[in-house]
């Protein structure tokens, strides 16, 4: 009976990946740590979360043709519990970092290159806004209120949350195979032809098919990889490079960037790119179906037939 239900769901359910999706996937040969290694304990801990919620694990059961094991109500979630939890913790941390970052920025909206920079030195560029300090010549006749105290406290607290969440997510991503399976683009997808097809589809605002909604396309994969492995590490690095205490322990962190003020300038641009990513990310979610995507990231379920395509 269970087998019948599962098979029926496979045939009619809108949420399950089509059999053609599996052919593209490589067989399940996830690298596992040795059973007696310390990594194994961590791996098992993630395995616990995985086995309850993970799409990929459910897929593997599916592929190994033990159809009966998957009852109709255990539709594989779009996002695992760990991905969902770390996603929302990152949202919380990033919004706090963004707001407090702007508050700190307005105390000196000028940027420099090199080690030192102040109003007696020519800036690399200025942001044409009023400042929260009277010592900065902005051309405005007024000074904004100083919000740096709580902003700096919250900026660093949120940075700890972001870094710890990021470490948890990254360990999980590597150990569970989440990065390899869900974010690493398949070799075929990286061809110019397939890339341009995806880009063309985006430019024409083509609506995604259900199969596409259950996985990430190559452009999404590349973007997420860049955000996770380039922008976030870079924003953490440049943030730490501004700390005089950290610079005393790891002077190379600063000199490689060209100096403390260069680190500050790069920190600003990387934050800008992360903010741009946030805008596009939210825009794409709205275009693709806000309710559905939110539901997927909040509960793990996708329910594409409940939201009419326009």
């Amino acid at each position: 009976m269970e087998g019948y239900l599962a098979a029926k769901t496979q045939l009619t359910g809108p949420n399950l990946p089509k059999s053609s999706d599996f052919q593209a996937q490589e067989p399940m040969t996830t690298l596992q740590p040795r059973p007696n290694s310390p990594l194994f304990a961590l791996y098992s801990a993630f395995g616990f979360l995985n086995s309850c919620y993970d799409t990929e694990m459910a897929d593997s059961v599916w592929v190994s043709s033990s159809l009966q094991a998957v009852a109709a109500e255990t539709v594989p979630p779009r996002h695992t519990a760990l991905v969902r939890i770390t996603h929302w913790l990152t949202v919380l941390a990033f919004l706090a970092l963004l707001i407090t970052g702007v508050e700190i920025l307005i105390s000196h909206p000028r940027f420099y290159w090199g080690e030192a920079g102040n109003v007696n030195m020519p800036p690399l560029f200025k942001i044409p806004i009023p400042a929260s300090r009277s010592t900065v010549p902005t051309g405005y006749g007024y000074v904004l209120p100083d919000q740096n105290g709580w902003s700096r406290y919250l900026h660093f607290q949120a940075a700890w949350l972001a870094v710890l969440t990021g470490l948890l997510y990254a360990s999980y991503g590597f150990l569970s195979g989440h990065f390899r399976r869900n974010l690493l683009p398949p070799a075929a997808g990286l061809s110019w032809r397939s890339l341009s097809a995806v880009i063309a589809g985006h430019l024409r605002f083509k609506r995604l098919s259900d199969a596409e909604a259950a996985s990430y396309n190559v452009l999404q994969r590349l973007t997420y990889l860049a955000v996770i492995f380039v922008l976030f590490p870079l924003v953490i690095w440049t943030g730490l490079a501004m700390s005089p205490a950290i610079a005393s322990v790891f002077p190379g962190l600063v000199s490689v960037l060209g100096g403390q003020q260069s680190a500050r300038t790069i920190h600003f641009f990387v934050s800008l790119l992360l903010f741009l990513f946030l805008l596009v990310h939210v825009m794409m979610i709205s275009l693709a179906g806000f309710t559905n995507r939110m539901r997927a990231m909040l509960t793990g379920r996708i329910n594409s037939n409940k939201e009419p395509h326009s």
Binding site: S44, A45, F48, S51, C52, A71, T74, I104, L105, S107, H108, R110, E115, A116, G117, N118, V119, N120, M121, R133, T135, N148, G149, W150, R152, Y153, L154, F156, Q157, A158, A159, W160, L161, L240, M242, S243, P244, A245, I246, A247, S248, V249, P251, V254, Q260, Q261, R264
Partner: protein, 251 residues
């Protein structure tokens, strides 16, 4: 949760217990090693404690970066006007000959040091970066007597944990003994080969290059050694947290 087995429940339970007891042990250890900042209470206490503890463990003996002479900024930025009150102006008119730095608290020999006394001690200079929490910075050569030398002269009692320093303009701050005894921490009186200008904190400024500008208090007149920062002000370790700024400014 269909595949929740007994083994997994036990493993998770054990992991949670280990995590919780780990936190308790970490807290005890942090207390005894002095890794809890005075402003650890409140909304931002968790982040502040993590930052201070992590940086203190990493930086106990690290040296702030020193630069070649060619990196010295043309004009050392002056942030705000010097004190305007009569006491300061009178001392300034006398060339600061009557300026005193009193050292008291948990010391064997309390003292009141003149500028000449401090200048007679072995001096140290370093070309270092001074960064403000606002974002600007400059590089200059700072000259002064190492605070560790002054502390050695007065004989610090073993129970002392912090040096609290007070300025003539009611500003005050404090540092732990790791920063107080650090070889780059100076009672500074010279900038770029001349007397420390009043605009930059002259005649005496606490100079610790591993922390941001606002810990480098200008116009200091008194050092007090203590084992408990709760005895000062609102108990937050400095005037900064009372105005919303963190006590520890290594970042």
């Amino acid at each position: 949760m269909n595949k929740l087995s007994r083994r997994k429940l036990i493993t998770t339970g054990l992991a949670a217990t280990a995590g919780a007891s780990g936190l308790v042990v970490a807290d005890k250890l942090a207390q005894s090693k002095g890794l809890i900042p005075p402003d650890a209470g409140g909304l931002f206490g968790a982040g502040e404690t993590l930052t201070y503890a992590a940086q203190r463990l990493l930086t106990r003996h690290s040296m702030a970066r020193e630069f070649p002479r060619s990196e010295i900024s043309k004009v050392p930025f002056v942030n705000g006007p010097p004190p305007k009150d009569d006491a300061f102006l009178k001392l300034q008119a006398g060339g600061f000959a009557d300026w005193r730095l009193t050292v008291d608290g948990l010391v064997a020999h309390p003292a009141a040091l003149s500028l000449a006394d401090i200048k007679s001690y072995p001096s140290r200079s370093h070309i270092t970066h001074l960064a403000c929490e606002e974002g600007w910075s400059y590089i200059a050569e700072w000259t002064g007597a190492p605070l560790s030398h002054v502390l050695e002269l007065v004989g610090v009692l073993p129970q002392a944990k912090y040096v609290v320093y007070f300025a003539i303009d009611q500003n005050w701050d404090s540092i732990d003994m790791a920063d107080a005894l650090h070889p780059q921490t100076l009672i500074s009186y010279g900038l770029n080969g001349a007397d420390l200008p009043v605009g930059n904190g002259g005649p005496l400024r606490m100079r610790l290059p591993r922390q941001l500008g606002y810990k480098n208090v200008k116009y200091i007149t008194r050092l007090t050694l203590t084992d408990d920062l709760k005895k000062f002000g609102k108990g937050l370790g400095s005037a900064a947290p009372e105005e919303g700024y963190a006590w520890y400014a290594g970042i």
